[in-house]
Symmetry: C2
Subunit: 303 residues, 2 copies
C-alpha cells in the first residue's frame, strides 16, 4: 500500500459527509439553497505533474484545464475558482504562469475569485493548486450508473498528450500538435453539458483509457471491454499505429477527453468515438485489432 | 514593491468578477441560486507559516482554524472544505496532521468534502492548502462600512500567539496557554455570527492589531485611533505590561480574534474589549497608557 493510499484511507474517515461521496469521485457534490455545487481541486507540482522545462504559460493553462475537465465530466457550469500559488522567486515566470492561467479561465468563462499567494523557501519545487466551483445543471453523471450492455465512448483520440510528453523529454524544444495536446489540454465543457442528461456514467480520462475505463466499470459493478483505441492522425504520423503504439496510447495519461457510457439504443449527442462496452462481471478485457491482449502491469498513470 | 505585491497586481487584473471584491477582502462573495457563498483559501508552508518543530496535529488544527476565522469574520456558516496536501514522506507526521485538522473541523461543524493529495520531491518543505466554503447569513460585514465615530472592539486579548511563538523559538518544548494560543487558535465563529447583523465593519486579526486596524480604517476611508491594547493575564504573568510589551502585542500576528466597529450608541452583543475608535482623516494614531506613541516601522506581520 503506497503512502498516498494510506493517507487516503485516513482522509476517508474524516470525509464522511454525503457531499464528499466517500472521496470515490473526482468531485464533491454539495447542495446549497436551491443549487447544487460541484467542487474539485487539483494541485500540480513541478517535476511531478509537469516538466521543469514546460513554459510557465502552459503550466498555468494546464492547472485551469485539469480542474475545468473535472467540472466538464459532471456537465457543470463553471462559477469561479480560487488559486493557491507559491511564488517561484522568478517574476517573469510567475507573470507568464498567470497569463496562461488567465487565458484558459477566460476561454471557459471561469472567473478567478480569490485564493492565497505565499513565499516558499529557496530551492523548493514550484507548486500550485486551483479549487474550482461549478453549478450542477439538470443531471450530474457519476461513475457508478453504467449498466451491462452500455457502449463506451470517448470525445476524442487517445495518447496524443502521452506522445507529446515523450517528445518533450527527448527534446525540450519539441513542438507541434502532440506537444500542444500535452501542454494545453482542452476541457470538454460544452460536450459535458450536452452529454450529462443522457449518459449512464461519465468521467474524464486523466490517467489513461484502460485505467479510467476499469475505474468506471468497477464503480458501476461491471466489467469493461475495450475493443478500439482511437489515434489521431498526428499520432499515427509520428508513431504509426502498431499494437505497441495503440497499447501505449491506451495507457497514456493527460488526455482529458470525456469517457462515457450510453445504452446501445442511444446515439451520442456529440461527436464521439466508440471504444468498447460494459458487461456483467468484473475486470477489463482489451482487444487490439480484434485480438485479446494480455494486460500490462500498470494500466495507466497512478499519481 | 515586493514580489508578492507585483504578483497580486497581476492577479487583480484577472480577478475582475464582482465576487472577487478586487481581492481586497479575505474572502470572495459569490451568489448561487438563492444562497450567497463565502469562499476563502489559505496555504501554510513549513518554515514560513509554522515552525518545523511544531507538532503536526497543531499544524493541521491551525490550517483549519485560519480558514474558519475568515468565515467567522463574515458571520458565515461553514458548509465544507477541500484539502490540498503534499505528502511529507513521513506517515506518522501525515496521520497526526490529519488528526489535528479533523479535530478542528469536527469542533466547528465543517465537513471535509475533497481535495487533492500529491507527492513532493524529497526535501521539499511541507505545504498544505485548505479552501473553505461558507454560506452567508442575513448580513455580510465588510472592511469598508465603518463610519466616523464608530468604536473599535476585539473579541479577546492581543499578543498571546506572538509570545507563544517567541517561547517556542527559544525552546521547542515550551508549553502553556501562550504556546496553545499560537498553536491552536480558536476561530470566533459563534461571535462572528452574532456580531454580523450589527457591526459596521469586521475582520479577523491575523497580522496584528495595528496593521489590521489600519487596513480596516483605510478600507472605510477613515483614520484609526488605538488607545488600549488588551493583554491576557497569562501574557502579563510572562512578560509584564510595559509599554514595550503592549507595543509588541499590538504588532503580533496569529491572534485570530475578531476586530469590529460599532456606532457609539450600540453595545457589543458578545463579550468584547474596546480598543479605540474611527474618525475622519486617514492613518493610525496609537496611544499607550494615554501617551501618543511614535509608530513602529512595521505595524504587523506582512506575509
Amino acid at each position: 500500500m503506497s503512502a498516498e493510499s494510506r493517507f487516503l484511507t485516513l482522509l476517508r474517515l474524516l470525509a464522511y459527509h454525503p457531499a464528499a461521496q466517500g472521496l470515490q469521485d473526482d468531485v464533491a457534490l454539495l447542495p446549497v439553497g436551491n443549487a447544487r455545487l460541484v467542487l474539485t481541486s487539483d494541485t500540480m507540482v513541478e517535476g511531478i505533474h509537469h516538466l521543469p522545462t514546460d513554459p510557465p504559460a502552459a503550466v498555468g493553462w494546464k492547472l485551469a484545464a485539469v480542474n475545468l475537465s473535472d467540472l466538464a465530466a459532471k456537465g457543470a457550469r463553471p462559477l469561479g475558482c480560487l488559486l493557491n500559488y507559491a511564488l517561484s522567486g522568478d517574476d517573469a515566470w510567475d507573470a507568464a504562469f498567470l497569463e496562461g492561467l488567465g487565458e484558459a479561465l477566460e476561454r471557459h468563462a471561469m472567473p478567478l475569485l480569490g485564493g492565497d499567494t505565499v513565499r516558499m523557501p529557496a530551492d523548493a519545487p514550484r507548486s500550485y493548486s486551483l479549487t474550482a466551483i461549478g453549478e450542477a445543471q439538470s443531471s450530474v453523471p457519476s461513475r457508478t450508473g453504467a449498466r451491462a450492455g452500455d457502449r463506451l465512448y470517448v470525445t476524442g483520440p487517445m495518447g496524443d498528450a502521452g506522445v507529446g510528453l515523450e517528445l518533450l523529454r527527448a527534446d525540450p524544444a519539441a513542438a507541434g500538435p502532440l506537444v500542444e495536446a500535452y501542454r494545453r489540454p482542452r476541457p470538454r465543457l460544452a460536450e459535458g453539458a450536452l452529454l450529462a442528461p443522457h449518459v449512464s456514467a461519465m468521467m474524464d480520462v486523466s490517467d489513461g483509457l484502460l485505467l479510467d475505463a476499469s475505474r468506471l466499470a468497477a464503480a458501476s459493478g461491471l466489467a469493461a471491454v475495450i475493443d478500439h483505441i482511437p489515434l489521431s492522425s498526428a499520432l499515427e504520423a509520428a508513431r504509426g499505429a502498431s499494437t505497441a503504439v495503440q497499447l501505449a496510447a491506451a495507457r497514456a495519461g493527460d488526455d482529458y477527453e470525456l469517457l462515457f457510457a450510453l445504452p446501445p439504443s442511444q446515439k451520442p449527442p456529440v461527436r464521439a468515438i466508440p471504444v468498447g462496452r460494459l458487461q456483467e462481471g468484473r475486470g477489463l478485457t482489451l482487444l487490439i485489432d480484434g485480438a485479446v491482449m494480455p494486460l500490462p502491469d500498470r494500466l495507466g498513470w497512478e499519481h
